[in-house]
Symmetry: C2
Amino acid sequence: MVGASKPASNALFLEDLQVGQRFSSGFHRIDEAQIKAFAAQFDPQPFHLDGEVAKATLFSGLVASGWHTAAITMKLLVESGLPLSGGIIGSGGEISWPKPTRPGDTLSVVSEIEEVTPSRSRPDRGMIRVRSETRNQRGETVQVLIAKLVVPRRTTAALAT
Amino acid sequence: MVGASKPASNALFLEDLQVGQRFSSGFHRIDEAQIKAFAAQFDPQPFHLDGEVAKATLFSGLVASGWHTAAITMKLLVESGLPLSGGIIGSGGEISWPKPTRPGDTLSVVSEIEEVTPSRSRPDRGMIRVRSETRNQRGETVQVLIAKLVVPRRTTAALAT
C-alpha cells in the first residue's frame, strides 16, 4: 500500500480520468533568443534563424520551429498541464500547427480527455487519447496535438506493491 | 530569372517530385548528455533525466524524449534528408515512436513521397505527403512521421522573379 500513496496527491490514474475532463497548464513566454537557439540546433532554416531574411518568406517574419512549439507544449504538460501518475508517456499522435509561434508569445496548453480505454491484455494500465491545444496570449491556437498516452491503473498498482 | 536559379542545384520544386521517390539523410549520434540536456529543458521526466531511476521505469533505462527524436529528425531532414526548394514547411502530420531512442544510437532518416497535390487556389505551390522513418544503427525504426508539406512550383517561381 505504500506504493499506492507514493505519487503526488494530484497524480491521476486511469480510474480518475473520464471523457470530457479538462486540464490547464501554466505559461511559457518564448523570445527571439530561444527561437534562434532551438533552430540552430534542430531546424536551421532562415525563417527560424534570421528576422530580416524571414520577412521575405511565407511567414513574413521570424517564427519558431513547429518542433519547438511541440517541445514547449511537452514542458508545459509535464510541469503542470497533465498530472498523470507514471508521467506522460506517448506512443504517438497527430499534430498540426494552425498558426506560427512568434517572438514574445506566451504559450499555455488546454487539454481534454477524449477517450479512456483499459488495456485488455495488461490489467495494470490503459490508454487515453488527449487533445491538447497550445494557445498564445491572444487565445489563438498555434498547435493541436491529439496524443495517445499510457496511464497506469490504481488498483493493480496498489496490489503490485 | 535570377531568382529561379538561386536555390541550391539539388533543391527540388513540386514538379520534380513524384510518388515513390525516396531520400536518405546523413547521420546523427545521440549521447546521454544530449538526452539529459533536451529533457531538462523540454521534457523533465525521470526516464529522460536519470539513468539509474530510469531502470525501474517502463523503459528499463535512459531514453530520449520522443520530441527530441522528432527534433533530430527535423535537423537531418533540413541538412540533408529532404532537399526541397523553399525549405521544409509543414502544416502538421502523424507521428509515432515504435521504439525509444537510447544513448549511443546513431539516427538517420529515410523519406518517401506518398502524395503530390498541386494547389487549386494557389498556382505557385502544392502540398506533398512524405513518410519519414527515423532508424537507429540496427535498422530499427524509432519514429515514423507522415507530414504534409508546402512546396513551391518551379514554373511560377520563375515567372514571379
